[in-house]
């Protein structure tokens, strides 16, 4: 299939690139794969037929963290270029097999893991959560795929329910009618499927009569907020909601967590949507918790490599994972807990702890789990700070 480079040049502003290399300099996978953003932009710009360029497997290494586009002094749309190339490949059917599975699964079951649609809300069965449609509420807790199905991340969903119930926040979930938000689907290149999801989800939200949406994952938050053309319902990430509940005195924490804790900014919450303060507010609000900042934080935070479909991609990268680097940085700070506010960060960092053999040094927690811990003396999970003296 011949590709006209002109479309790419116009759509993604490749002609204004000054080849400064800031994009490659800030790329979190530059040491992990041959992906070189500056070169890709240049080569796509000068060639008559870029299609051979697009066959390179490293195009699947990009995590779409967006460091490159955000830092570009000229305004080249690098990440959009990557997504457009992946869209071309997807339309030709040329995607890696595990990405293929994730896309087919989402088409069929509404989640990339292909877990059974009817089991989506099983995690909430015993929690007394309203299911919209059966009961009414103006606030939707949009759970998302990983928090619905992944046993580790279900713990985050459960923690949030506990927090909201404690703060008397009236909310409901969509139950088994909920479908994937499509953020990762778009980033894996399946634009048509993404469009279908935006349409189906927007209609479902409107029909449910809700007035606001709270998401667990920054990835869902990002796409609802920025990429759903007809969605007018305000969207919040849960950290914004909890910070507000704390500030207005609706949520009080009674138990002290004497833990030195640092925080990993999720790319889709922090650098892409500038939610930096709320997570930190929550952490410093927890009694006893000692918050320490990592050297690379906020805009400069290092991507965990969980975005851009990387949760479903196979290989394509080599060497030390960013997660491992990150966990070691946290340990060096003397942190016992590394908190985050994203299901993918949670999973990739937790893997990194296991791989690095640091399970007795540090634990990875979602902020919601720490808050739920600090609510009262009946912890929902057995929580133990790691002990160096073992």
């Amino acid at each position: 299939m011949k590709i006209d480079p002109k479309t790419f040049i116009q759509d993604y502003l490749l002609n204004i690139c000054i080849q400064c290399g800031t994009c490659t300099g800030g790329c979190p996978v530059k040491f992990r794969s041959p992906l070189n953003m500056r070169r890709l932009v240049r080569q796509t710009y000068i060639t008559n037929d870029p299609s051979p360029l697009f066959k390179s497997p490293e195009l699947w290494a990009c995590t779409t963290c967006s460091n490159c586009s955000l830092r570009c002094p000229a305004g080249v749309k690098n990440v959009e270029l990557i997504m457009a190339i992946r869209n071309l490949l997807a339309n030709q059917g040329e995607v890696p097999s595990t990405i293929r599975d994730a896309l087919e699964n989402t088409f069929l079951q509404g989640n990339p893991w292909g877990r059974f649609r009817d089991r989506r809300a099983d995690w909430a069965k015993e929690l007394g959560v309203k299911i919209l449609g059966e009961a009414a509420s103006e606030t939707l807790l949009y759970v998302g795929c990983a928090p619905s199905y992944d046993p580790r991340v279900q713990n985050v969903s459960t923690a949030l329910v506990k927090i909201f119930q404690k703060a008397d926040l009236d909310f409901g979930i969509l139950g088994k009618k909920e479908s994937c938000c499509g953020n990762e689907i778009r980033r894996m290149g399946e634009q048509a499927l993404f469009k279908k999801l935006t349409k189906d989800n927007t209609n479902l939200f409107k029909k449910s009569g809700i007035k606001r949406i709270i998401t667990i994952s920054p990835h869902c938050y990002n796409t609802f907020k920025n990429e759903y053309p007809d969605l007018t319902i305000p969207v919040q990430h849960y950290t914004q909601v909890i910070a507000d509940l704390m500030e207005t005195g609706k949520l009080k924490l009674s138990k002290a967590l004497d833990l030195r804790t640092t925080y990993q900014d999720p790319c889709f919450l922090g650098k892409q949507n500038l939610v930096f303060d709320e997570p930190r507010k929550i952490l410093t609000f927890i009694p006893g918790l000692e918050f320490v900042e990592m050297e690379r934080s906020r805009q400069r935070s290092l991507c965990c490599e969980g975005g851009g479909g990387r949760m479903w991609a196979e290989g394509g990268t080599e060497g030390t994972r960013n997660g491992e680097i990150r966990v070691k940085e946290a340990v060096a700070l003397g942190a016992k807990v590394m908190a985050t506010a994203c299901p993918f960060c949670l999973l990739t960092l937790e893997d990194a702890v296991k791989i690095s053999g640091l399970t007795s040094e540090i634990v990875i927690k979602d902020i919601s789990e720490l808050v739920a811990e600090a609510i009262d003396e009946n912890p929902i999970t057995k929580f133990q700070a790691p002990n160096n003296h073992q």
Binding site: S97, T98, P151, R152, W312, G315, D351, K354, I355
Partner: protein, 324 residues
């Protein structure tokens, strides 16, 4: 009434296990019908097989022909249909194997007999055949009735029926002339192809760490292979892993791969389809790691871990060091 036919399956100089399993089943089905079962042996220079089979079956029917040396459904069908026409068996049992699946459906159509495939149980109610089949990927069983007929064909799932004890019977042998005349050239057997083993031979391993599609992707394989090596074993896999090119075919445990009987078999992210289970259930100890507590593999395993393998394997990797 004629006797129940059991088609002997043999390949490369060996009678295959399914034959003995079907002979046992054939006897069980025959006696309430007041009849016996006959082993039907087609081949070339198969005297030794015939003699062996007389200790297992009430009767052995033998057709020798050079064209029957290797399995070719066209030849087999021609010989079988003439034998069926002569002996009028109420039922012909064939293995639900690569051999039987290439033969039974066309034979049944030619004879105008109802066929039921992949049976895990069979019985006669009066003269009507009933079968139990496993459907929807093993999630449920179905009891199936076949329509009234003077003859039936059924294919039998391997590994379900136990073979009889050796040397119970003293059956007679009947030689039948081959009805094959001119060469048939629409289908020709050329050769067997056996992929050379380039890595370790998994059938020789005492410890096997086997992975399924549930591991999510090939990036986890190096870690699991390291665990296997530390334990003094090898890595193997189920079919979907080979279909996805995550591991080579020679690593596949299953009906279409290798049958293994190690001392310890650790199944990671393997759901437990019968094609896999049949080929590893002879292992001394089976340990399953799967995050789905409902996975059928837990019905086969001696020990189970219900968790994501990623929570378990990195710890095992550390603990396994030096366990060899």
């Amino acid at each position: 009434m004629g006797e129940i036919f059991v088609l002997v399956e043999h390949r490369q100089g060996k009678i295959r296990d399914i034959t003995y399993e079907m002979l046992q089943l054939g006897e069980r089905l025959a006696s309430p019908q007041g009849t016996l079962s006959t082993a039907v042996l087609l081949g070339h220079n198969v005297k030794n097989f015939a003699e062996e089979l007389t200790t297992k079956a009430s009767k052995v029917l033998v057709v020798e022909d050079a064209q029957l040396e290797h399995f070719n459904s066209v030849h087999y069908q021609k010989v079988l249909s003439s034998l069926i026409a002569k002996y009028q068996p109420p039922l012909t049992l064939i293995g639900h194997t690569a051999f039987g699946m290439d033969l039974a459906p066309s034979l049944a159509v030619e004879m105008e007999f109802p066929l039921v495939t992949d049976c895990i149980d069979l019985s006669f109610e009066e003269s009507r055949l009933k079968a139990v089949r496993s459907i929807y990927g093993g999630k449920v069983n179905a009891k199936v009735s076949l329509k009234e007929s003077k003859g039936y064909v059924a294919t039998v799932r391997p590994g379900v029926f136990s073979p009889g004890a050796p040397g119970e019977k003293k059956g007679g042998m009947v030689m039948e002339p081959s009805p094959l005349q001119e060469m048939i050239d629409v289908k020709k057997f050329i050769e067997y192809i056996e992929a050379p083993i380039t890595g370790e031979d998994i059938t020789q391993a005492e410890i096997i760490v086997s992975v399924g599609q549930g591991i999510g992707g090939p990036e986890h394989i190096p870690m699991i292979e390291e665990v296997a090596k530390s334990l003094g074993g090898v890595i193997a896999c189920s079919r979907p892993v080979v279909d996805r090119n995550w591991l080579p075919k020679e690593r596949q445990v299953g009906i279409s791969g290798k049958t293994v009987k190690p001392k310890v078999y650790i199944a990671i992210g393997i759901s437990g389809a019968f094609q896999h289970v049949t080929a590893m259930q002879g292992s001394d100890t089976i340990i399953a790691i799967n995050k789905d507590a409902r996975a059928p593999i837990f019905g086969v395993a001696d020990y189970g871990i219900v968790d994501d393998f990623q929570n378990v394997i990195p710890i095992l990797k550390e603990k396994a060091k030096g366990m060899k």
